[in-house]
């Protein structure tokens, strides 16, 4: 009985601890809503996510929706900045280490023609001979993405 109690205690501690960790979670496609543009997130090649240092999670339907939000609040407030690997839909990867492609041949949900790749090589492969260019994360944050008005 005492052993059982110990197991129970251990279980409780694990549960409580896991409730405190900040980590990205998967985007629930066709259910979740974009924090910036209020659209339902539905294209699993472009979803993006921000996790604040306090653990609050913001989901976006496109990278071009995430970047203005990030620039507005400053990158220091966020523990994770995640984008979807274009080649592996639904898979979130670290945005700061990703390569980004802007090419008219790949339209993205909010009209910036922007997609993310895990490595420079896969980005180059995807771009191939198409018109467009590749950017690093730092280039992207300076890039003017959304010019409606």
């Amino acid at each position: 009985m005492k052993q059982l109690n110990n197991y129970f205690l251990l279980f409780t501690v694990i549960v409580l601890y896991s409730a405190c960790t900040t980590s990205p979670i998967d985007i629930d496609y066709n259910e979740d809503q974009c924090h910036a543009c209020k659209m339902i997130i539905s294209d699993s090649r472009f979803g993006a996510e921000l996790v604040t240092t306090k653990g609050k999670i913001y989901k976006f339907d496109a990278i071009e929706c995430l970047v203005p939000e990030l620039n507005k609040n400053g990158a220091d407030n966020y523990k994770y900045i995640m984008v979807t690997d274009f080649e592996n839909p639904k898979t979130l990867i670290d945005a700061t280490k990703s390569t980004f492609m802007i090419s008219e041949s790949v339209p993205s949900p909010m009209g910036a023609y922007l997609s993310a790749f895990q490595s420079i090589e896969s980005g180059k492969k995807a771009l191939g001979s198409k018109k467009g260019n590749l950017l690093t994360w730092n280039d992207l944050c300076l890039h003017e993405l959304f010019d409606f008005e």
Partner: protein, 397 residues
Amino acid sequence: MVEVCASCEINNIETGLDTIDACDTLLINGGQYQVENIVIKKSMTLIGKNNPTLVSKSGDEILTLLADHITIKGITFKDVTTSYINERSAIRVKRKKHFLIEDNTIINCFFGIYLEHAKKGFVNGNTILGNATSEAESGNAIHAWYCEKIEINNNEIKGHRDGIYFEFVNESIVQNNHSELNTRYGLHFMFSNDDVYLDNKFINNGVGVAVMFSRRIQMFRNLFHHNWGRSSYGLLLKEIYDAELVNNHFEENTIGIFVEGSNRVNYKRNTFKKNGWAIKFSGGCETNEITENNFLYNTMDLVVSTQLNDNRIYHNYWSEYTGYDLDYDDLGDIPHFPVKLFSYIVNDVPESIVLMRSLFVDIINFSEKVSPVFTPKDVADNTPSMVIFENKADDYK
């Protein structure tokens, strides 16, 4: 005219297309054809008789129209599969004018009809059935990208991502369509100006219609019904300028209209019936006019998160109005305040919705009504109507 059928001299479509001259007609008489990537490069008419079916051989595109003046009529298209790299479609119009795509059936395709830089064409009376579920990836039934002066009429659309999708589409008309069970939107406008949509039915979609970043859109006599769920609206207006919303019917939606950053929009003679929220304003909405609408039995009629600057609300019928009309001019003698204190609280703390309809909520709403502290005093209908307005779209259901 050249005829293609199983027992004809010409028994495949590719040969048929090579044989005919420009401006001639190719008739496909019954049968099923395994085809892929057919490109039509001359002006012509392609007609199906006795329900011929074109099945995609390996799931790639079926038909691409690369000439002006092409008619496609009465043909069934099937089985274009999902691709993450290409937006494959059953019928694609690429940089051409004067097309007519009529009375076709498109079943189980990734994208249905894809209009790319197309102008002055018609998509009429097609039936497009997809198999989108919340897990599976699906494309749009009718996808228009950089188009001008196109008309989408009388189509039946079910089970795609967006029923009809407009991106950079100007001066176009969407009329009399039925869009149902799409995972995202029944109809979706992005960066499109000067369009009209009227007499459509949007039922049971993720969101009925989303109009985003567009100017001068006119919306008449549409039915928005049962768009129900966690992030569902009947109509989403985001960054919309100079729009007209007249004679629409919103029934049983989680939120009838969700508005963000929209200016100079006229809401006139619409009916909001049995919605969770009838209209929810969220920030930055100016110079809107809400008049002669019917607000019937909604849980909350109006929610505003900020001050509604110079917005005008007058002559609406509110089923919740408890005033009187002593001078018989059909207008209530005391103002109606549609924003309740509880709707304020729910806006800030969504979880408090569990208190809905409790005595506590009735008490705080009543005390706020007697002496308003939190709710904005300028959001009021000073001349509420005592009679329900007639609305043709009410009979659509």
